[in-house]
Amino acid sequence: MEDIHIIELYWKRDSSAITESQIKYGSYCSVIADNILHSAEDTAECVNDTWLRAWDSMPPQKPSRLALFFGRITRNLAIDRYRRNRSQKCGGGQTALCLEELGECIGEECPIEDRLELRELLNGFLRGLSDKNRKVFLLRYWYMMPVAEIAQRSGISEGAVKMTLKRVRDKLKDFLQNEGVGV
C-alpha cells in the first residue's frame, strides 16, 4: 500500500492502518529497535508501541516521509527502553557503544539546556559534511547500526568506517567546543 493511503487510514481512524504499517514497515522499524536494544522481545514491543504512538500523532500530523516518521518514533521508544533497562542493568546492543563514542564529542562540564539550539547547530554541522560522511555518521548514530553492517551497506571496509567515524567525531568535537556547547 502507498504511504499516502496508510496515512489516510490513520486520519480516518481505521484500525487497519496499524496492520498496513506493520506489513510495510514492521521489519524496517525492527532493524532500528534491534540495533538499539539487541533483544527480540523488547524490539517487538517497541515496534508495536510505534503504531500506537503514530495513531496518537495522526491526525494532526501528515508525515512527508512515513518511513522516517515511524523510524524516529521507534528510535525514541527504543532509547527510552534502553535507558530503563540500563538502570536495571540489563544490556542493550549498540547503544552503549554509540553513547561512549559520542561522549568523545561533547563535554559534561556544563549541562545542555537548550536542545533546540543544539538541534539547529547539529543540522548545520551535518549539512557541512560530505554525503558519504554524513551517511556513515547517521547510520551509526541515528540507526545505531553496527560498524560491520555500515561497511557492508556502504561497500567499504570496517576499518574505513571506523576511520570515517573517528574523523567526523573529532570534527564535531571541535565544532561544539567552538560553539561553547557542554564546556
Binding site: 518511513a67 561533547i106 543544539l118 551535518l126 547517521l138
Partner: protein, 474 residues
C-alpha cells in the same frame, strides 16, 4: 541526563532530508548460510510403546505401511540471500512473525513442568553427561493425554500444568507453531507420529484430533513386517537429521505392540558470531572422572555476562533460532548442585531479562562438545506422578480403541544428542572481533568452561528445547 545522552536524542531529531532511508536493502547482520550444524541437536522422545496385557496374533496379511494422516507443516519462505530484495525479506519476516504471534498465556503451566521434569531427568548425572528435551516430552505427553482418559489423563494434565484437555490442545498447537522454524538456514521442528497396528481398529476422532493439534502423522501396518519397522526407522532418521542413527537402529517394533508414539526434535542453528577455527586450541577439561584433553573454541567478545551466588553465565545467540546459555558453576559446587539453586532456574526460564547482568568484554573459552544420553523416562514419570498409564489394571486408553482392555504403556524412552563446533572457520576469522566497534568496555570477565557445566538451548520463542549437563565434552 548527561550531555552525551542529550546529543544522542538530538541526533534523532535531525532534519528528515538529511537522514538516509534503509528501505532499499534488508537487514544484513544475518548472513545466509546453509544448514550444517554448529549447534545440532535431536531427540527421540519416542518408542512410547503400548502393549496388550496378553499376546495377540497380529494380522500378517496387512501391507507394510499405510499413511492414515500426514502432518502438513506451515510454509516459511526461504531466508533471502544478501542479493534478494527487501520484499523477500519482508515476506520471510511476516511468515515467521505470524507463527510466533500466539495467544497470550499459551505457555502457562510450562515453566512448572520444565523445572520439575528437568530436576528429575538431569539428576544423577554425577560423572556422565545428561541431556533432556523438555519440549519434546511435553508434546509426547500431550499426545498420550489424548489417547487416555480418567485418572490416567488427569495425572498427565497435572504434570503438564494444564487444567483440561482442551487447554492442553490449544497450548500444544501454539507451542508447536511458535517454535517451528525451517527456512533453509535455521531448523527447529517438533515432529510426532503414531504407528498403529493394522490388526486393530482405532477411534478415528482421536487420531484426527492428534493429527490436527500436534501436527502428527499416523501410520498403520503390521508390526511383524520388517518393512513397517524400516518405515519407522526411516521416519526417525529423517526427522532427526540422521543425528541419532545409532539409537534408531536399536529401536525394534515388537510384533505385539498396539501403538508406538515417536516424538522428535530436529534442531540446527548457526552462531551469530562464529568462532574462528584458527583460535581453537587443545586444552585440559577437568572432568568429574579426571582430566581430559579436548578442543576449546576461543574468542574475546563484548557481551552480556550474568552471574549468581554460585555460577556465572553467558548466552551465545543462534541465527534466527534462539540461543544457547552456558552456565559455569563456581569451583565449590557441581552442575547437579546448581539444580536446586533458585537463581539458576530464574536464569534458565528467562529469555532475555536477568537481574545480575552486565555488558562487558568476555574472554571466552568453550569446549567443542558432542554429548548424548539415552534416558528411560518411565521411572522419572513415575516420580512426577504419572503412574496409572503404566499399569494394565489402571490404564484407561479408551479414547484410543474400543479394544483397550488390558493395554498399558510399557516403554518410554528419550534419546538425545547435542553437538556444537565453531563452523565456518574461514568466514568467522574475518568478522568475529570487529562487530562491536573500537570502544573498549570498562569491565572485563573471563568465562572459561574447563570444568563440568550446564547448557540450555532456548528456542526463538523463549522455550527450552534442550537442557543438559556436560561432565565430559566428547
Amino acid at each position: 541526563m548527561k550531555n552525551r545522552d542529550i546529543l544522542l536524542d538530538v541526533i534523532g531529531e535531525t532534519d528528515e532530508e538529511l537522514v538516509p532511508e534503509l528501505t532499499e536493502k534488508k537487514r544484513s547482520r544475518i548472513k545466509r548460510t546453509v544448514i550444517g550444524g554448529v549447534c545440532a541437536a535431536a531427540v527421540i522422545a519416542g518408542a512410547v510403546t503400548l502393549y496388550p496385557k496378553l499376546g495377540r496374533s497380529p494380522d500378517r496379511s496387512a501391507g507394510s505401511c499405510t499413511v492414515l494422516a500426514a502432518a502438513v507443516y506451515p510454509q516459511i519462505p526461504a531466508y533471502p540471500g544478501d542479493e534478494d530484495d527487501y520484499g523477500a525479506y519482508q515476506a520471510w519476516s511476516e511468515a515467521v512473525a505470524e507463527l510466533r504471534s500466539q495467544p497470550e498465556g499459551y505457555t502457562d503451566g510450562f515453566d512448572t513442568f520444565f523445572v520439575n521434569s528437568t530436576q528429575v531427568f538431569l539428576s544423577g548425572a554425577e560423572d556422565g553427561n545428561a541431556v533432556y528435551s523438555p519440549l519434546s516430552l511435553y508434546m509426547a505427553l500431550g499426545v498420550t493425554a489424548e489417547i487416555t482418559d480418567g485418572s490416567s489423563r488427569q495425572q498427565i494434565l497435572d504434570v503438564l500444568g494444564q487444567s483440561d484437555i482442551e487447554t492442553l490442545r490449544a497450548h500444544s498447537r501454539s507451542i508447536w507453531q511458535a517454535d517451528y522454524m525451517d527456512d533453509g538456514m535455521a531448523k527447529c521442528v517438533l515432529a510426532t507420529s503414531l504407528w498403529t497396528n493394522s490388526s486393530l481398529s482405532y477411534r478415528a476422532d482421536t487420531m484426527e484430533q492428534i493429527a490436527e493439534s500436534y501436527y502428527s502423522s499416523v501410520y498403520s501396518g503390521d508390526p511383524a513386517d520388517e518393512g513397517y519397522s524400516t518405515a519407522l526407522h526411516e521416519w526417525l532418521n529423517e526427522q532427526t537429521g540422521e543425528l541419532l542413527t545409532d539409537y534408531v537402529s536399536g529401536i525394534e517394533m515388537d510384533p505385539e505392540m498396539v501403538l508406538t508414539l515417536a516424538s522428535t526434535v530436529d534442531y540446527c542453528g548457526k552462531w551469530v558470531d562464529k568462532f574462528s577455527a584458527e583460535s581453537t586450541e587443545q586444552s585440559v577439561f577437568h572432568a568429574a572422572g579426571g582430566d581430559v584433553t579436548c578442543d576449546f573454541m576461543n574468542a574475546e567478545r563484548d557481551m552480556e555476562y550474568r552471574w549468581g551466588e554460585s555460577f556465572s553465565s553467558v548466552s551465545l545467540p543462534l541465527e534466527n533460532n534462539g540461543h544457547m546459555k552456558l552456565i559455569l558453576p563456581d569451583e565449590s559446587c557441581s552442575p547437579a548442585d546448581l539444580l536446586s539453586d533458585t537463581e539458576v532456574w530464574e536464569l534458565l526460564k528467562s529469555q532475555w531479562y536477568y537481574p545480575n547482568s552486565k555488558y562487558v568484554t568476555v574472554t571466552l573459552s568453550v569446549p567443542k562438545f558432542d554429548v548424548s544420553s539415552d534416558t528411560d523416562l518411565r521411572e522419572g514419570l513415575l516420580r512426577l506422578g504419572v503412574s496409572d498409564v503404566f499399569t494394565p489394571d489402571t490404564a484407561d486408553l479408551s479414547p484410543l480403541t474400543d479394544e483397550a482392555e488390558g493395554i498399558c504403556l510399557s516403554q518410554a524412552k528419550q534419546d538425545t544428542r547435542v553437538t556444537i563446533d565453531e563452523d565456518g572457520c574461514r568466514a568467522s576469522s574475518m568478522t568475529v572481533m570487529e562487530v562491536c566497534g573500537e570502544a573498549e568496555p570498562d569491565d572485563h570477565a573471563e568465562f572459561i568452561l574447563d570444568r563440568p557445566f550446564i547448557f540450555e538451548i532456548m528456542s526463538a520463542a523463549g522455550l527450552p528445547l534442550f537442557v543438559g549437563i556436560v561432565n565430559v565434552p566428547v
